[in-house]
Symmetry: C2
DNA sequence: ATGCTTTTTTACCAATTGGTAAAGATACGA
DNA sequence: TCGTATCTTTACCAATTGGTAAAAAAGCAT
């Protein structure tokens, strides 16, 4: 009688049946596919329903609406996306910690290109739905990391760099391989992209950061 | 009697009246605004008409349809976008030529953020309309430039880099400031973005490329 | 002014969109 | 196996979408 799925669940899932778990999963995966390809406004519920193998009304049984699906997707994404930055260890070797971050970001771009594109789409369109999220979660995390990098620089463990711009450059170069895949694919044989990118970005940032 | 504007003009404008020139300009500018914000599928003719200060049917008097506007915009853009790469001078000083390219790309990202986002949107969505254009125009240009860079490296004038990945990194880092402006704006005071980016990218690529 | 062309508006479509109501089918515990 | 709660389908909407037909209004050369 309760009909949890779509209803604005205040505390979110108290319990979810196996069917609910499976279908919500299918829907979110289908939505990731469609949203990452066409952006929020360009995606349609029909496309998502088709991709998920469910009827449109059935999808609206599990989610309150198109926006609900999109927001759920972005929320889930944020955690996974910020994790590598959180794992930068203040106690580790500065250069190796940052290089590990570069490599993890590149691997994520290669392993989760749809997620990268979903995020890119949202930011491109002015971050209308994820904006507050960025301010609340991303901003303090970047501040903390920038301060850490600055301390490392002051200690002489890294070459002097603007920490925030460095972070931007890492994001830009790694995500480029996912977000601009259609362009990269035209210009390079896709077999050599992976290893080539790894070696190149390693050299680029190692040279930049070695004192 | 001829009604040139929207009609599939084979050789394009033979002559265009002042009104045609003005209104086509207005429409393309409005369309750039809307397409760059919402992508092709997310943009509507009504929005474009509104932004242009013209009625929807009037817009369809000047262009064959939504797609025609989009393609026209992308065609115009490609020339401007590829110009800096074309201007890399094989006779100039290798390092300074590439640094000049970096700075020009960054300036374009700052001066024409809408164009950058229009392009990013198109690529993100798999380059459905500009794909052939990329293969025909961009690919040979990149090949040529990559070969030039390789020659410079072989001559010992540049540090050894994968030329294509270097080009990707330049594109990624410079366009990031336009395409991800919504994110950059959350993380940095917008007054320091411009000069900071310039100094940072100069250091990044100079360090990377200096033999 | 006149007659012609170019431009703009008004009044429409047919298709697609996100979303709903309610009946029907299915699972599942007692 | 029965009853209840969960899940799914069918049959719809109202709003928006890209686009058209045709009349009305400007321009403009003579």
């Amino acid at each position: 009688m309760q009909h949890i799925p779509g209803d604005a669940a205040p505390t979110e899932d108290i319990t979810m049946s196996r069917i609910q778990l499976r279908n919500r999963g299918r829907i979110l995966d289908a939505a990731l596919e469609v949203f990452s390809k066409h952006g929020f406004r360009g995606a349609t519920l029909d496309q998502i329903a088709d991709e998920a193998g469910l009827s449109k009304p059935n999808i609206l049984y599990y989610f309150e609406g198109k926006e609900d699906i999109h927001v759920t997707l972005l929320d889930q994404l944020m955690d996974r996306w910020l994790a590598p930055l959180r794992e930068v260890d203040p106690e580790g070797d500065p250069l190796e910690e940052l290089m590990r971050y570069v490599h993890r970001k590149l691997e994520m771009s290669q392993e989760f290109p749809r997620e990268s594109r979903l995020f890119a789409n949202e930011i491109l369109q002015g971050a209308p739905r994820i904006g507050p999220h960025l301010k609340r979660d991303l901003h303090p995390l970047v501040e903390r990391t920038a301060a850490l990098i600055q301390r490392w620089i002051d200690a002489g463990a890294l070459a002097p760099v603007d920490p925030r711009h460095l972070i931007f450059s890492i994001w830009a170069t790694t995500q480029h391989y996912a977000d601009f895949e259609a362009q990269v694919g035209v210009l390079m044989d896709s077999t050599e992209v992976h290893s080539g990118a790894r070696a190149h970005l390693d050299a680029l940032f190692r040279r930049m950061l070695t004192p």
